[in-house]
Symmetry: C2
Subunit: 331 residues, 2 copies
């Protein structure tokens, strides 16, 4: 018989459907579906080194002796605009707000065929440093309530651009989903006197069976009520609500952690499409006792359909303990 | 400049990205992607007339002089099980519950190549009657908190089965997303003394510009803050919180409404994949003043990626007013 588990942080219920459960390796891409090997350079790619558009703004550049390693530029079709005032309109049941905010592209590497799973650690450190720098600059903008850094890897994760890149977005409102989680976390803190994320981390370290990787500063694990197969959380051990507060030692350690878990996916599941996202506190509080920033990774190995749409609940056909064991054992 | 709109019912903010906006017809499937014409019968299809498995349970059958028109059978790989007790476990931050509930398949038509957009009205009435009958039977089961009826049409909407079918699910918990909406609706009722859904309907009828179709008993429209292009709501005009209370006149009218809007999608967007779902009150209250059942249709013409995952917000590249006009004008 299947069972349901509740994610204590999001309050989401997930159905673990053992009747239709698959073994971890069955979620791997079939050989026919493995994306083709990419060239190191493509003359038509606007992100490749050598194809920079000199008339385009550049918000950040990290260089070494060979030239740039990471660049942040505007999104060509931005969903939000950097100029203008944050103006709300409210009329009856209609509420709207001007689309001020940030929507930027971070080019992760000069090479077209690079991918975090296979990059050198120092290159991943550049990416994370760029995230932090840009996060802390956008943070100062009073029009911004929430900063969301994310990456889409592969076509089924929503990107048509092959060149490795991330996106940095910042919104003029607190998204209702994020507000809801803050309310839950605040309630837990008021009830129990501690951070629900710190408690979750202690619990996972104690249980051990869902851990993928432990390092000095981070723990990667599959949550007890993972929404989908190989849905992963990477928590910093140190309580900190704001990603912008990550220090240099933690950045180096996160680069190693990220490379390790993504290469486990790369080799174990044949380079699946995935999204990752950094969840950080809203900009109204930098040092919150009840929120804890983290990184979530969602490989696209299953598909949400009408049930998920109609209920907000998920059906997961893999047990978190099995998926974690599978990834733990890939070296 | 883009702008954001808030859905007053779900409290979701949606970014309307005018910089990357497309014209309505640009969301149509390309000719190369139109699904192939299906045969009327397939010997390997377990849902085709003539291929019934006599050893399998059948929960409902609607017949006419030519034989069955609609059948409800168990899902071959049920996510939830009809037998067993609803038992909760709670230990520290872990909460789980046994997977009791319902997971059934409704075969919508004897023919393999039927589709609601092109069916006769009397066949759609059979489907809706079967929904109602089964809903009202499951409703009596004390272990059930929420009944979710949905349909996945097309591969990108999450189904690999071609034969037209819907699913009926019932869960032993109230999904947190549904609970959250009930809280919002209750607050609105307490503040304003009326149903937020009735108010939304009045507002849409007044504004006119997002209406797709008005009938005697139903109104189909694109919400002011639609999550995605052609995201549609079909509201009953009569306040009723429970789908099980739909009457025969309303069923006939809903059959016409559903056929009309789905055939507008079929012809206007070249038979896109879509999901629809019936949102009804939880089973603890049948006659709620503050909730109003409705049907939501989400064509799969855009893809959620890292931003949606990381924020719960959506980016919509089509204006609801333009999409509604486009669909209104398809006859």
């Amino acid at each position: 018989m299947s069972h349901l588990r509740q994610n204590f942080i999001t309050k989401d219920w997930v159905i673990f459907a053992t009747e239709r459960a698959k073994r971890p390796h069955e979620f791997a891409r079939s050989v026919a579906d493995i994306p083709p090997v990419l060239p190191m350079y493509k003359s038509t790619c606007p992100f490749c080194k050598g194809n920079e558009n000199p008339s385009e703004a550049e918000y950040l550049r990290i260089e070494d002796e060979h030239g740039w390693r990471v660049r942040i530029i505007p999104n060509k079709y931005p969903a939000l605009s950097i100029t203008g005032d944050r103006i709300r309109h409210s009329e009856g049941i209609h509420r709207s707000i001007t689309g001020v905010g940030y929507h930027e592209v971070l080019i992760e590497h000069p090479d077209h065929n690079a991918t975090i799973a296979l990059m050198e650690i120092k290159d991943i450190i550049h990416i994370l440093n760029a995230y932090r720098q840009r996060y802390n600059i956008i943070y100062l903008d009073n029009r911004i309530e929430s900063i969301i850094i994310f990456k889409n890897h592969g076509e089924s994760a929503g990107t048509s651009l092959e060149h490795p890149h991330s996106q940095i977005t910042a919104t003029p409102v607190v998204p209702s989903q994020i507000r809801q989680r803050l309310i839950e976390a605040t309630n837990y803190f008021d009830d129990m006197g501690e951070c629900i994320f710190c408690e979750t981390l202690r619990d996972e370290l104690n249980a051990k069976e869902r851990i993928i990787l432990e390092t000095e500063h981070f723990v990667a694990f599959i949550p007890y009520a993972a929404l989908s197969p190989f849905h992963m959380w990477v928590f910093p051990r140190r309580h900190s609500s704001c990603f912008g507060e990550i220090n240099d030692l933690e950045i180096a350690d996160l680069a190693y952690t990220l490379k390790t878990v993504l290469s486990k996916l790369f080799y174990g599941l044949n380079n699946p499409a995935y999204n990752y996202t950094i969840r950080s506190m809203t900009t109204d509080a930098r040092h919150s006792h009840y929120f804890h920033w983290y990184l979530a990774i969602v490989p696209r190995v299953s598909q949400a359909a009408g049930f998920e749409l109609g209920s907000g609940m998920y059906i997961n056909t893999a047990m978190p303990e099995d998926s974690a064991k599978f990834l733990r054992e890939i070296s």
